[in-house]
Amino acid sequence: MRPLTLRRLFLQCSILVLILFVVVVIAVKFGAVPVSLYALGRDLWHVLLGQRADLSSDYVLIIKNIRLPRILLGIIVGASLSVAGTSFQALLRNPLADPYVLGVSMGASLGSILALIAEPHLSISPALASLLTPLGAFLGAGATIAAVYFLGRREGQIDSATLLLGGVIISSFLSAIIMFLMNTLSGNLRGLSFWLMGDLSTPLQKSAYWFLGIGFLLAAGAIYTTAADLNLLLSGEKEAMHLGVDVPRVRLVVYIAASLLTGLAVSVSGAIGYVGLIVPHAIRFIFGSDHRTLLPTAALGGAIALVFADTLARTIVAPTEVSVGAVTALVGAPLFIYLLRRRLS
């Protein structure tokens, strides 16, 4: 018997933090304008010593103003999507659940677009208006997962195949509405590929990072309080109840918090797919499926995966870029098929 200890959890997280650091360094170094490691080290040294006047203009222009914010965004979005995917997998008892596959990301995209359309018509303060898009995304995500949940239920049980099929149908229905809206309305909306595929190139205000970071910590923290319950929920709702899990409460907390995570991520980066599918599977394979370690390690893993994928998206066809969602889909879709076939056999 080797029950989980705080030490082991700490060790696993430390390893991933280290990997994340290496990936961040790579992401800072590579891009349309490469930066040498020596210059990076020198600039970091100046920042640490507080000698901001000595910083090279490259650093201020490229690294501080462009690459680091984008990396930070990748960390938060990747962690959010990964934790949301892990949660949906436990909640729906389906290892193939993922915000994108289930159509939840599309729901959040549509919610964001509707909020952006409504915003000019509402006379509210700019501070409130900036909350409108994430709120719309959250509501869109929540409504979609509720719809998928009810579509996937047959005779009181969640049917795996019906659930996935429901997600696919809802997803294509919602993306059709998005295309319709984008083609008929113009204005202050980001491009179609942003909402359907997702990317991390949109610059945000400084306050938005705080908002995202705190939102992530609150929602992921709420899910983490149910980590031990989620372990039991994997054996079925009835069995979890007999083992002492307050099933309706756990379901509500995870449902709301995971929708919030998806909504936050999508409102700033569009619908990036498969991060919530690949990362939890890889982490389970390495560290096991105990949610007390799975949730924090999947969050770190999601951050690593998305920052890395975004670095690829920025560099493979430099100086132009591809959507990071295209990169994650290129890797994720074949893996999805593999997992589906293994599950069916």
Partner: protein
């Protein structure tokens, strides 16, 4: 001081009660309907029974007689239409899921796993209701889980994967998880369903020994006439949502009654253990 002695008196009272009736099912009935406007599809008529610590109660009957429904009513998972179920004086249905799991363990027909788990991980799940939500397993939890595995003779299965052991071994590990809950009441829904005869007897021998040693009250749903006769202290005979008789096997096992309930010709004789033995007479 008066508060202390009142507390001691209260404890003594609780102990005395525990030695008498632990489980009391009082006129419990239930109706299931898919649509509230329609007549119920299934009803369970008012049923009563009582059980003491260390006793094994078998709920016996053919398919669709209401055995599992009665078990779910006892577990508190279903709300009765009328009547109540008391465990040491508390209504089981009104306990929180956590408190309920500390007192009642339920062994289902089968346990599905989404991701692979080792036997010890599975057994430690039984400690869930005794831990605070995020706390890691204590040394006590590990000790109790190890002990539970040893009690069902499955200590050597501890590190095996759940999806790589036989049906009988799996059933023992599931039972060990229920023991790790340290319950007062152990409920089992057809635990011998997928087991061969040796595994069936092994499991029921273990149950009888555990009920005696740990003073569990055991309620087991089965349609195995001879296993119920051999192992139960009390039998609850059910047919089409009605409880026909409650009593020791000797008083329930009458040929006409069983033939009528199970709709098949059979003979009842006294076995060497002093308990009734049923032979199904096929083709006569």
């Amino acid at each position: 001081m008066s508060a202390g002695s009142a507390h001691a008196r209260h404890l003594a009272e609780a102990g005395r009660l525990a030695n008498e009736i632990r489980l009391s099912v009082e006129q419990v009935s239930y109706a299931y309907s898919a649509n509230p406007a329609q007549a119920p599809l299934f009803t369970l008529e008012a049923t009563s029974l009582q059980a003491r610590p260390g006793e094994i109660v078998a709920i016996l009957g053919p398919n669709a007689s209401g055995k599992s429904t009665l078990l779910h009513l006892i577990s508190g998972a279903l709300a009765p239409l009328s009547g109540r179920v008391l465990l040491n004086g508390f209504v089981t249905q009104s306990l929180t899921p956590r408190t309920r799991a500390q007192r009642i363990a339920v062994v289902q027909q089968e346990s599905a796993l989404l991701f692979p788990a080792r036997a010890w991980e599975f057994v430690l799940q039984g400690r869930h209701s005794h831990r605070r939500s995020l706390r890691f397993e204590s040394e006590d939890d590990v000790l109790i889980a190890k002990n539970a595995l040893a009690q069902v003779g499955a200590a050597d299965l501890s590190d095996r994967w759940m999806n790589q052991i036989s049906g009988g071994e799996k059933q023992r590990v599931i039972l060990a998880r229920a023991l790790a809950q340290q319950p007062l009441l152990l409920l089992l829904d057809e635990p011998t369903l997928h087991l061969d005869i040796a595994a069936q007897i092994g499991l029921l021998d273990a149950l009888r020994r555990l009920a005696a040693e740990n003073r569990y009250t055991v309620v087991v749903v089965t349609h195995e006439l001879n296993l119920a006769a051999e192992y139960a202290d009390q039998v609850v005979l059910m047919q089409r949502g009605r409880c026909l008789r409650v009593g020791p096997p000797a008083s329930i096992y009458q040929r006409e009654l069983l033939e009528q309930v199970f709709q098949t010709p059979l003979s009842v004789e006294l076995g060497s253990s002093g308990r009734p033995r049923v032979t199904v007479l096929s083709g006569t």
